[in-house]
Amino acid sequence: MYFAEVSSLPLRLYQWTEQLFTNLGLPLWLLAILVATVKVALILGFILLNVLFLIWLERKLGGHIQNRLGPIYTGPFGLLQTLADALKVLVKEDIIPAAADRWVFMIAPLVAFVPAVMIWLVVPFAPGVQARDLNIGILYVAAMTSFSVPALLMAGWSSGNKWSLLGAFRAGAQLISYEVPLILATLAVVMLAGSLSLNDIIGAQQERAWFIVLQPLGFIVYLIAAIAELNRTPFDLPEAESELVAGFNTEYSGFRFAIFFLTEYASLLSSSAIAATLFLGGWSGPLLPPFVWFLLKTYVFVFIAMWIRFTLPRLRVDQLMNLSWKLLLPVALLNVLVTGVFVAL
């Protein structure tokens, strides 16, 4: 079959390179580094391309929801708008406030961005197309997601601005609170699949049914908690414009701001991809090639997140905490309990 031909191509390419290396007498660790570099480049390319599209999509969707057109002038349907914006932001002056803690201020965007990329290490794009199939895949994802807390705290603390600080504190409290129901929701999925590996989870869904059917409650908890983790409306308190000016990234400008922006959308994409993998069967699906299924399902979540953003007002700090600890957490625990009984039977 054609798809099989295409998907075996990387493997054949790898075998050919391996042959070449042995023939030339080069050490194999060099090959490993080369392969890793290619993988990172591919993933980065995937993320950047998608983020370019995501930002355009968000503006276009927002436009249409709000009785506007969104970008129309730059390129067909304004598709090149993000490119133009990125260019503009990159040539801007990189301002570091006098009151800032220089080094912390400078590396904070990177601390946010690197883990957001590292999540993609375990994301299965299609059968066999995965940087590495870790047997603790989902645990790894949770760990990488948690990295955003120190990054935001660093950004807020080092800016030397009270609004940034407030935004960072809000972010810290919010991310830690919502991580709990998020992980509990994933836990129920893991219990059903019997494995932490994302590939096994997809396999389990192919055998039974998509976990959104078996785990409707867990899915809703995951959706809400994931949107909160992403700091998106109605949980966008860390950067609540009307309250905190721009929250933790008030003082950021130029390409450091761009990196925060990029991180935000990269996280949106990875959260959606993980959600698609956990609840919608990942790349599995009939007729269309697996990679297309993967993208389609990912963009379902992206669309939901954007739709919610342009529809709802923002919660208040205490209500945000109440929602997590008093509603989502008990519901998630109950879900784990029910799933446990179900699995035991």
Binding site: I65, E243, V245, P313, R314, Q319, N322, L323
Partner: protein, 391 residues
């Protein structure tokens, strides 16, 4: 989600109630933080600077610092003839030019004992009510923005655009009209224009239902606004509140009913009011006022008489020596114009009673004990216009 009710009696001093009474952090030594909210801040509606003392997220004290937009309106007026002051009044509350102009010309006409043609009075009523809707739509949009909902803003501005166009057609301007004249109005309204207003009134209720679907029924909105920024009737009256802020606190006082001017006494409409006194009540009162304005507009257009739109008035207006006070119900509250005349063509002293300025004094009483997010909702709910606060 359980509602966390914080009741702050109006003008409460001293102890600030805490939501988390038995939290382990109570033993920690914490410090209050002072932040400058504004004059450049996305939700201070212009150049309000509020020095907010916060304990974590909780507002301990608010001190509003005004004057960033002071343009000496009152002093300049002393150098101008009464007709020349009219365009300046547009620039006090720049979102409600019509009612400001009206406050001035009504005061002057009262001092002169001038009779205004009936058609002019009807036109003025129509303009006032269109202005009220116009202004309330901006409030609705920006209030949504304050709460983090971006879409209502664009919906409201879509409909406001129609009214702006209507104003533009008659007055030539979309915000600074310079339309009222001593003795009438500057331009007559035409039959096609009246039809366009009627068309707008026909399709506008559908838009209002859209707003309700989008924001009013939203549980997050209710949770954010109920019980927040409470002001009881006594406090509201004591601070001199008027307009929607006063009416939302359970005092159904409306100048259009209680001190009728123009032809409001012939109109059949209800005073929109609520008794809760919180942000939600102010929200509901304003939305209801839009509906009542539609009623008034329909009647005013129905009863529009033929005749002159600008009556006979002296070219040189000299008010007899004395004190004069005229007031109208603006979108934000009682707009008052106090003139001291020494018999000259120019006022000896002119004082402008700006409702926003009065309502801004309520901010500390409303915001103390609430959270930073509430603070923004409260500022949004009192609907201040800094052009009017500073004049």
């Amino acid at each position: 989600m359980p509602d966390t009710e914080v009741s702050v009696p109006g003008g409460a001093q001293g102890q600030v109630p805490s939501l988390i009474e038995d939290s382990p952090t109570q033993d920690l030594r914490t410090e209050e933080m002072m932040v400058n909210m504004g004059p450049q801040h996305p939700s201070t509606h212009g150049v309000l600077r509020a020095v907010v003392t916060i304990d974590g997220e909780r507002v301990v004290d608010v001190d509003s610092d005004v004057g960033y937009l002071h343009r000496c309106f009152e002093k300049i007026s002393e150098k101008l003839t009464y007709q020349q002051i009219i365009p300046y009044t547009d620039r006090t509350d720049y979102l409600a030019g019509m009612t400001n102009e009206l406050a001035l010309v009504l005061t002057v006409e009262k001092a002169l004992g001038l009779e205004v043609p009936r058609r002019a009075q009807f036109i003025r009523t129509v303009m006032s009510e269109l202005q009220r809707i116009h202004s309330h739509l901006i409030w609705f949009g920006t209030f949504g923005l304050d709460l983090g909902a971006t879409t209502p803003f664009l919906y409201a501005f879509r409909d406001r655009e129609t009214i702006s166009d209507l104003f533009e057609e008659v007055t030539g301007a979309r915000m600074m009209y310079n339309y009222m004249r001593v003795g009438g109005v500057r331009n007559d309204i035409t039959a096609p224009w009246v039809k366009r207003v009627r068309d707008f009134l026909k399709q506008f209720p559908a838009a209002l239902r859209e707003y309700d679907d989008l924001l009013t029924g939203n549980p997050i909105l209710k949770a954010r606004t109920r019980g927040v920024g409470k002001i009881d009737a006594q406090t509201a009256v004591a601070y001199g509140a008027s307009g929607p802020v006063l009416r939302a606190s359970g005092v159904p006082y409306d100048l259009r009913k209680h001190d009728p001017y123009l032809v409001y006494d012939e109109m059949d409409f209800d005073v929109a009011w609520a008794s809760e006194g919180d942000v939600l009540a102010r929200y509901q009162v304003r939305l209801e006022e839009i509906r009542q304005s539609i009623r008034i507009l329909e009647q005013a257009l129905e009863g529009l008489p033929e005749g002159e739109f600008l009556g006979k008035a002296p070219r040189i207006v000299k008010l007899p020596p004395g004190h004069y006070y005229g007031r109208v119900e603006g979108p934000r509250g009682e707009v008052g114009c106090y003139i001291v005349s020494d018999g000259d063509r120019k006022p000896y002293r002119l004082h402008w009673r700006a409702p926003s300025f009065v309502h801004l004094q309520l901010l500390p009483a409303m915001a103390k004990g609430h959270l930073m997010g509430d603070m923004v909702a409260i500022i949004g709910s009192i609907d201040i216009v800094m052009g009017e606060v500073d004049r």
